[in-house]
Subunit: 227 residues, 2 copies
DNA sequence: GTAAATCTTCAAGGTTCCATCAAAAATAAA
DNA sequence: TTTATTTTTGATGGAACCTTGAAGATTTAC
């Protein structure tokens, strides 16, 4: 899951991004209104964590912007305990959930996962395809009845493939989705090759088909009609 | 899809053309007003990416020129964030979409695809003809119910034929459309012969008719009334 | 703090695609 | 019919692209 945290309190922000990254997400940070809008213009995110109180502009403005630009990320609002009005206003403006400070990071993570579920799996805890089952709650992956051990990158890659079946995913877009910002600094796509290789190997070892088709000159396609 | 990028910032321009080429498009570059107009006079493009701020003349002039000359390319404007006036003026002058810098290249590509869809397929994701279906989103080609594997050039050629049914396409125009600038370096049309041959073969193998009619001395015609 | 796991980088080898060459076939002109 | 021109086709070398293993760097888990 790719997340953008919009939060000006740098310590809290750092805690959040660190935690979420350790939980296996790709997590970026925007510490003011301006940077947030720039990022939203440029990248796509599965979820946004939005602090309503920002120094250079109200977080509600960002919500309006999201609505106006038809950005389809889930939005989780974070606000101070006493800022009830902002919370209500935020939900009315289309935010999907809220959390009042202070909160546990595990709570944040759980809520984000729930939002993700609602968006990509119709609330289901599992992404299913053929003999592959992914529990996005526990990050457990079952192939042909047996658990398959995946590293975080492999897991993220598989989820990205499964939520984009039968569509060519260019190496560029895979890089963006798995590495976020950092992808811009990369000269080649060696890691994409690597992780695709490892994922393929594990799926086949686990008894699945080689669903990941190479599309020469473009990227890969998770082909659901593959023997 | 054949694209002309009109952008004076050479680094950005290079990034854009590289990216778009990797995404499978034919992409040319004009780094100033003068060269842009020359290209527009000489060639045709599906889409233009136009930076509003050019050193030797405003990008808006190019828009006026496009309108005056009735050039039917889609136009996507690129402008600095604070150049809101230019953006509005651009849209009023007939640009089809805009993007403010900085933007992400995948966003650029997505917008261009959307413009292309609007222009050639009435917003539909599919180009259909007889037993041939092309999903321009996933780049999947289905003939007689079965997927047909095409290389990039073959794919581009087929799309070009299908968006110009029953019209004679000279080898010159095919070369320009599939190879852009690079076509100038080529001495003969051997490569056109080659790819037409391969495409014909694949369509027939896949169970389609030989729709590609040779027009002696001119080029080819995708003839929809062919046995 | 240390060992193990994971991720990234490097380099070699293999595959696919494509432009070119050359020869054969088809068409038009003489 | 002969000749010239155009088109088709097969073959080939080279370039771009993909895969893979292994080593080095970083991160994570204990």
């Amino acid at each position: 899951m790719k997340i953008l945290v919009i939060e000006d309190n740098l310590e809290l922000a750092q805690n959040m991004t660190d935690y979420l990254q350790r939980e296996g997400h790709v997590c970026e940070l925007a510490d003011n209104h301006h940077r947030a809008v720039n990022k939203l213009d440029a990248f796509s995110y599965d979820c946004l964590v939005l602090d309503i109180m920002l120094p250079d502009g109200n977080g509600l403005d960002i919500l309006r912007y999201i609505k106006h630009e038809k950005i389809d990320s889930c939005v989780l609002i974070v606000s101070a305990k006493n800022a009830l009005d902002d919370k209500v206003a935020g939900l009315e403006l289309g935010a999907d959930d809220y959390l009042t400070k202070p909160f546990h990071l595990s709570e944040l993570n759980a809520r984000l996962k729930a939002l993700y579920r609602r968006k990509y799996t119709q609330g289901d805890k599992e992404i299913k395809f053929a003999e592959i089952f992914i529990n996005i709650d526990t990050m457990e992956t079952i192939v042909a009845g047996k658990p398959m051990e995946l590293t975080r990158k492999e897991y993220a890659l598989l989820v990205y493939f499964l939520t984009n079946k039968n569509r060519v995913l260019t190496r560029q877009s895979i890089a963006e989705h798995l590495w976020g910002d950092y992808a811009d600094n990369l000269l080649n796509f060696d890691f994409v090759y690597q992780h695709v290789k490892n994922l393929r190997k594990k799926i086949i070892q686990a008894g699945g088909n080689d669903y990941i088709e190479t599309v020469y000159g473009l990227g890969y396609k998770f082909n659901s009609n593959r023997s």
